[in-house]
């Protein structure tokens, strides 16, 4: 019971901070809201027995990616844009929200077919680093894993080449 209430609270926090990300004027406020969202999501992952994913979420998303975002925002010294809804682009906001609403209605309609309860029990080692590691390195995911490391190297080199003033 207590865990269920906690789960709903974290879900609510995720939703509120996500809404805050797309409605803040200043990029720095949006970035801080996004960090909150990532922490709530990490708590949800932990409650869904995805312990390793929860830790990775905090380390990679809330740690590395958001530091990069905030660093760039402060580097560029950005001020907030002129507000969420300007008269000149109200049609655009309307069109965007309508499209998102349409997709959302579709997804939610598809989801109402799902009525199962969450599986009650998981084995104690479900989602631990040991099990995830064995699955990555002992199965068909080994090659994609190594390819992901190549992708990260390429992205790193690409970012340096793009952002450097002269090579």
């Amino acid at each position: 019971m207590f865990l269920s209430v906690l789960f709903y609270l974290f879900a609510l926090g995720t939703l509120v901070s996500a809404l805050s990300v797309v409605t803040r004027k200043s990029p720095i406020a949006a970035a801080v809201s996004l960090v909150c969202c990532f922490f709530f999501l990490s708590a949800l992952y932990a409650m869904l027995d995805a312990h390793f994913v929860a830790v990775t979420q905090v380390l990679v998303y809330a740690g590395a990616i958001m530091v990069l975002f905030i660093f760039v925002i402060m580097l560029l010294n950005l001020r907030g844009e002129g507000g969420l809804v300007r008269p000149t682009w109200a049609p655009r906001a309307l069109a965007g929200l309508a499209a998102a609403g349409l997709v959302g209605t579709g997804i939610v309609t598809a989801l109402t077919a799902v009525t199962a309860k969450l599986a009650a029990e998981t084995s104690p080692e479900f989602g631990t680093i040991e099990q995830v590691g064995k699955t990555i390195f002992g199965g068909p995911y080994l090659l994609p894993f190594e390819v992901a490391s190549v992708l990260l190297t390429v992205a790193m080199v690409g970012a340096v080449v793009l952002a450097k003033r002269e090579l």
Partner: protein, 102 residues
């Protein structure tokens, strides 16, 4: 945890995806558009994790970790592009970038 319906995490993931999509479609600041994309990726991750829990298989966790790796690469390159953009046009407002408009 057994009182929770499966469609609570799945519905939350759909909501995150749609909120992110609304952000991508309506915001003008390129940085906030990138953040909205991260939001969409996280919505997908939540669906992966919830369904992995339901099917008692960690394959979904591995996909979530791959999504994080791709998101990190995307953020690095995207932010480098934004810095480049700012250096050349001194703006990150997407409406001011109409070089290819013809």
């Amino acid at each position: 945890m057994d009182q929770i319906d499966l469609h609570i995490p799945l519905g939350l993931s759909a909501a995150l995806f749609v909120i992110g999509m609304a952000g991508v479609l309506t915001r003008k600041n390129a940085l906030i558009v990138l953040m909205s994309i991260e939001l969409m990726l996280n919505g997908v991750n939540l669906a992966f994790v919830a369904l992995a829990r339901q099917s008692q298989s960690v394959d979904g966790h591995i996909f979530a970790i791959f999504v994080m790796a791709v998101a990190a690469a995307e953020a690095a390159v995207g932010l480098a592009l934004i810095i480049l953009l700012f250096r050349n046009k001194v703006t990150v407002e997407l409406d001011d970038l109409n070089l290819l408009k013809g």
